[in-house]
């Protein structure tokens, strides 16, 4: 096919519009499941990553932002983290578009980039708006590290860092497993879906 001029509007196809609610709901359920299984991670960006991988960065960004808007209705504190999830969607989408999940070393690099973006974007919000504590699972560890005299920024990066990378790896693997079993006929209808078909054929 010829390369057409790219427009963001095209990203929001009917299918993309329907994937956004699914993505938000998956974020929500993933987070619930993680706390139900008492995992030390949030795992609440799986849907954002999934939407971004299939429909590109802008759909991913909307999925991420909307997640925090919707959870913010119950607890408005979540509004502050809208930028973090918007960025997560954007970055994943751009990585997907650049085929950064195709070879193992690119994949590892992508995981690190995704985790880094998440930490770097949430750190200022957590530290400046909440003084380093959000009330989540890892907050306690951060608080303990702070009590031990560690610098507030270092405390945040140290504990959040490891878990964020793990979080992204698990989230990504889940998305990958799902994409692998989606029928090709369905996959081609998604903006970035054909990327994953070529890889399968190899």
């Amino acid at each position: 096919m010829e390369k057409k001029k790219y427009s963001i509007k095209e990203d929001f196809s009917m299918l993309a519009i329907l994937v956004i609610p699914v993505g938000v709901a998956v974020n929500f359920v993933g987070g619930q499941l993680a706390s139900l299984l008492k995992l030390p991670m949030y795992l609440d960006t799986i849907g954002t990553i999934f939407a971004a991988m299939l429909c590109g960065p802008w759909v991913g960004a909307v999925t991420g932002g909307l997640t925090n808007i919707v959870t913010g209705i119950a607890n408005p504190v979540n509004f502050a983290f809208i930028p973090v999830n918007v960025l997560a969607g954007l970055v994943t989408g751009f990585l997907a578009r650049k085929q950064m999940f195709s070879v193992w070393w690119k994949w590892i690099l992508s995981m690190l980039i995704m985790a880094a973006v998440s930490i770097v974007s949430s750190a200022p919000i957590v530290v400046l708006v909440y003084g380093g504590v959000t009330g989540g699972g890892t907050s306690i560890i951060t608080a303990a590290a702070m009590a031990a005299g560690a610098n507030i920024w270092a405390a945040f990066f140290g504990t959040e860092g490891i878990f964020t990378v793990l979080d992204r790896v698990i989230s990504f693997v889940i998305c990958w497993l799902v994409i692998k079993v989606i029928p090709e006929r369905t996959l081609v209808k998604f903006g970035c879906g054909s990327n994953y078909i070529k890889e399968k054929k190899k």
């Binding site: 009917m14 609610p21 090709e184 006929r185 081609v188 209808k189 078909i197």
Partner: protein, 286 residues
């Protein structure tokens, strides 16, 4: 002849597929007639439905040759307007709920809101259709709390309320229990009485025999037979092609082979009783 839909030499392949899902299809759908579509799984029946409705190639992509005309205009030239002309109902009742409405009443009204119909008219039309489809008792329930059969009736109502001339109904009962099937067919019968053009894909061949005027038979992407139901459903050679035929038609042919002087092959139970009784009388006379 008044053709409402025409397919002219249509060949279509899904994206990535190596063989076409529909090959060299030529068919005319006449206004006001009831078409039953049969054939084994994967023979192209659902593709045929999506093609007539214009979902192919707009949504399914892929490669389409030839043209599909609805009232003389190509489906690809319609855009969203085709929803006013063709109603579309398919297998899965669960995915036929819009996902934004909290009551059955609003669900059925959703299409009319999209069409921009005035509110007073919406109320009147929705109540009318809810009565016709026997769902008025459910009007204030959440659509997701319904049983499969109820959901499928809501899906039918949501489409009928738009008053399309043509209805494409793709295996509406394959996921329903006998009771649900019966209630759905009661609605289809009412639509037939309203002289709508209906294209129905259905595996339960006795239902096709009872309701259809014409039958189209698909095999491996080709339409291998088409015509009056009496003629098609009594053609035993189609059995070898993988098409299901009514048990009574098979019985009739066997009786004929055994020497019963049966004049016509029956396709419905009612016909069977009538024709066989006739033949028995004939034999007794001799």
């Amino acid at each position: 002849m008044d053709n409402i839909i025409e397919c002219k030499n249509v060949t279509y392949s899904y994206p990535l597929a190596e063989t076409p899902a529909i090959q060299e299809l030529n068919v005319n759908i006449e206004r006001g007639k009831f078409y039953g579509v049969i054939g084994e799984n994967g023979s192209g029946k659902t593709t045929f439905c999506a093609l007539l409705r214009g979902f192919i190639p707009d949504f399914y992509k892929g490669e389409l040759n030839g043209e599909v005309l609805v009232e003389g205009k190509k489906t690809t030239d319609y855009g969203g307007e085709l929803s006013a002309k063709i109603g579309y109902v398919f297998q899965n009742p669960f995915t036929q709920i819009s996902g934004v409405k909290e009551t059955v009443f609003e669900e059925v009204a959703y299409g009319l809101e999209n069409f921009g119909v005035p509110v007073e008219e919406i109320e009147r039309r929705v109540v009318e259709v809810m009565q016709m489809t026997d769902i008025e008792a459910l009007a204030e329930k959440n659509p997701f709390d319904l049983s499969g059969g109820q959901m499928q009736r809501v899906a039918l109502a949501s489409v009928i309320v738009l008053e399309p001339d043509i209805l494409i109904i793709d295996e509406p009962t394959s996921q329903l229990d006998p009771e649900g099937t019966e209630s759905v067919f009661a609605i289809i019968k009412a639509l037939k009485e309203k002289r709508k053009t209906i294209i129905l894909v259905e595996h339960k061949i006795d239902l096709i025999a009872e309701y259809a005027d014409e039958v189209l038979v698909f095999k491996e992407g080709r339409m291998i037979a088409a015509g009056d139901k009496q003629e098609i459903l009594s053609d035993l050679s189609l059995l070898e092609q993988g098409a299901a035929l009514p048990q009574v038609a098979i019985l009739g042919s066997r009786l004929k082979e055994k020497g019963l002087p049966i004049s016509r092959i029956p396709v419905t139970e009612k016909q069977a009783i009538e024709f066989i009784a006739e033949a028995l009388k004939e034999r007794d006379k001799k």
